[in-house]
């Protein structure tokens, strides 16, 4: 009887310690805002254009090792492909570069890298960019196919959640090229200039 009296509290303490250790091993719960931001970025399809695609065993898929880092800097594009009606728009094999009447646009780096991504942006920069369709809220126009007019209708809370999530993901250094205006994109084509467009995984487009 005496041994059962001593063993019971010890067993309880051991069990409590085990539960505590298990809890400590789990990652901290995400805040509600972070979860909301992750949800919005997921269902909003941001990865579709801002995460490069690569060819996998089941066909094209997002290369999540480059999540939301934009058009890969090692995929050089200097001209727009020739097209004829009814075709007016083309996409690169990475799905991060788009050619159309606007020239050539490249999906930007949304990771918090300070030099090549959104690391130096403030929430105000982000909200104003989405509401105005201008870079950092007051610069050059944000080009197609970025669907900012729809995003502009998001609530302040949802934009904040989106930005909060983007600031939480791994920072990736990737310098996305500047857009190519229509006259430069077609001039390069006319002059016979060719740009290399090798997919980052080594597979040809």
């Amino acid at each position: 009887m005496r041994m059962r009296t001593v063993a019971w509290p010890v067993a309880l303490l051991a069990a409590l310690a085990a539960v505590s250790a298990m809890a400590a091993a789990k990652p901290p719960a995400k805040s509600a805002m972070l979860r909301r931001g992750e949800y919005l970025v997921t269902i909003g399809g941001c990865n579709d254009c801002h995460t490069p695609w690569k060819m996998g065993p089941n066909g094209p898929a997002n290369d999540m090792t480059r999540m939301l880092s934009g058009h890969p800097q090692d995929v050089a594009i200097s001209e727009a492909p020739s097209q004829s009606p009814p075709w007016t728009t083309s996409a690169s094999s990475t799905f991060t570069a788009w050619a159309g009447p606007w020239g050539v646009s490249f999906a930007s780096n949304l990771t918090p890298d300070p030099e090549t991504g959104l690391g130096k942006w403030t929430l105000q920069n982000f909200v104003e960019a989405m509401r105005s369709g201008r870079h950092m809220g007051r610069g050059r126009p944000i080009l197609p196919p970025m669907p900012w007019p729809g995003i502009a209708k998001m609530t302040d809370d949802d934009l904040k959640a989106t930005f909060t999530y983007l600031r939480s993901i791994p920072a990736i250094s990737n310098r996305v090229p500047d857009p190519i205006p229509p006259e430069a994109a077609s001039a390069a084509q006319s002059s016979g200039m060719q740009g290399s467009s090798t997919a980052p995984s080594g597979t040809k487009p």
């Binding site: 403030t122 920069n125 007051r138 610069g139 050059r140 857009p179």
Partner: protein, 336 residues
């Protein structure tokens, strides 16, 4: 002043500006285009580039009220203050309007008819006017969002009416400079009249000027202050870029060279002809690697600076900036 004039001067109804410029209070007699007394005609020493338009500006401050200049960089205007800015080439084309209401600044603009008989409120979504400022280029009446884009980019919403712009120490080399006509106010006369109050004594006793080592530098940095620091300053939404082109009159922010932070600062924008890693905001001795110049010299939508509001390059200013960078700013090796 009669009842009709007083009615024109009353605050606007909360739901929006009048449909006609004639009803905003600018004119005492619209038919003769007589400006109402009490509307002060003024001219900043560093005008904003506007595709070569001739500009006329007026301000109205309600009688008995005054402008609070205790923050030299961010003057505060009383409710009821009004500003008008007329753009004209061979004829009047547009008159922009700002009114300080209890809820903040009201933005509107008025488009002149081709025969000059009337000016009506433009849609808030902007308008491509019929006036051709250059072959194939028509003047664009900005959207209200465009207005706010610039006017809310920094410390103060009113851009051309402040201590530096109205200083009696006017820059004789300022690009696109305008004459200071008789009767136009200066900072000194505004303070003496009591219309501007609270300005730090040092600025009253020594009218401000852009600090520079050469007259050309003064003009160049004054131009950058007026045309670029609207957005590129150390306190507004773009402060995170780490570059200010503003000549601050607040002692804690002032530097010997207002654009010092831009000199040698790496630029994320790169001109195609410039090797990677060589693009900087302002490159001493090197206009070709200076992205400030490259972007000023372009009107491509993706490249131009400022990003909106103009369709033509300010050739005079570009030449000034090139000369300043090439001849007045020494590369680091030479400076040592």
């Amino acid at each position: 002043m009669g009842d009709a004039a007083a009615a024109r001067r009353r605050s606007l109804p909360p739901h929006g500006p009048p449909a006609r410029l004639a009803d905003t209070g600018l004119y005492s007699d619209f038919a003769t285009r007589t400006i109402a007394p009490g509307n002060l005609h003024y001219s900043p020493q560093y005008p904003l580039w506007a595709d070569g338009a001739g500009k006329s500006r007026w301000v109205f401050v309600p009688p008995g009220a005054a402008i609070d200049a205790s923050d030299p960089d961010g003057w505060r205007f009383p409710v009821g203050t009004k500003f008008w800015k007329e753009f004209a080439w061979s004829r009047k084309v547009e008159t922009r309007y700002l009114e300080r209401t209890r809820d903040g600044w009201l933005y509107a603009t008025y488009v002149w008819s081709e025969d000059g008989s009337d000016a009506v409120l433009a849609p808030s979504t902007g308008l491509l006017s019929t006036y051709e400022i250059a072959p194939g280029r028509r003047h664009f009446i900005p959207t209200v969002a465009d207005c706010k884009n610039c006017h809310r980019g920094g410390r103060a919403e009113i851009l051309g009416f402040g201590a530096l712009q109205l200083s009696s120490d006017r820059d004789p080399l300022a690009p696109n400079r305008e004459p200071l006509d008789a009767g136009m106010p200066t900072l000194t006369t505004l303070v003496r009249s009591g219309l501007v109050r609270g300005l730090p004594r040092a600025l009253v006793e020594h009218p401000p000027r852009v600090a520079a080592t050469t007259p050309r530098g003064r003009a160049a940095m004054g131009y950058l202050h007026a045309n670029c620091s609207i957005c590129h300053d150390s306190v507004g939404p773009l402060a995170s870029q780490g570059v200010s082109l503003r000549h601050s009159l607040v002692a804690r922010e002032q530097s010997d060279e207002p654009a010092a932070a831009a000199i040698g600062h790496p630029s994320r924008f790169r001109a195609p002809a410039v090797a990677p890693g060589e693009s900087v905001w302002i490159g001493p001795g090197s206009p070709t690697t200076s992205m400030v110049v490259a972007r000023m010299a372009s009107r491509s939508q993706m490249v131009q600076m400022p990003p909106l509001g103009t369709a033509l390059v300010d050739e005079q200013a570009v030449a000034l900036l090139r000369a300043w960078i090439e001849q007045d700013l020494l590369p680091r090796e030479q400076a040592k």
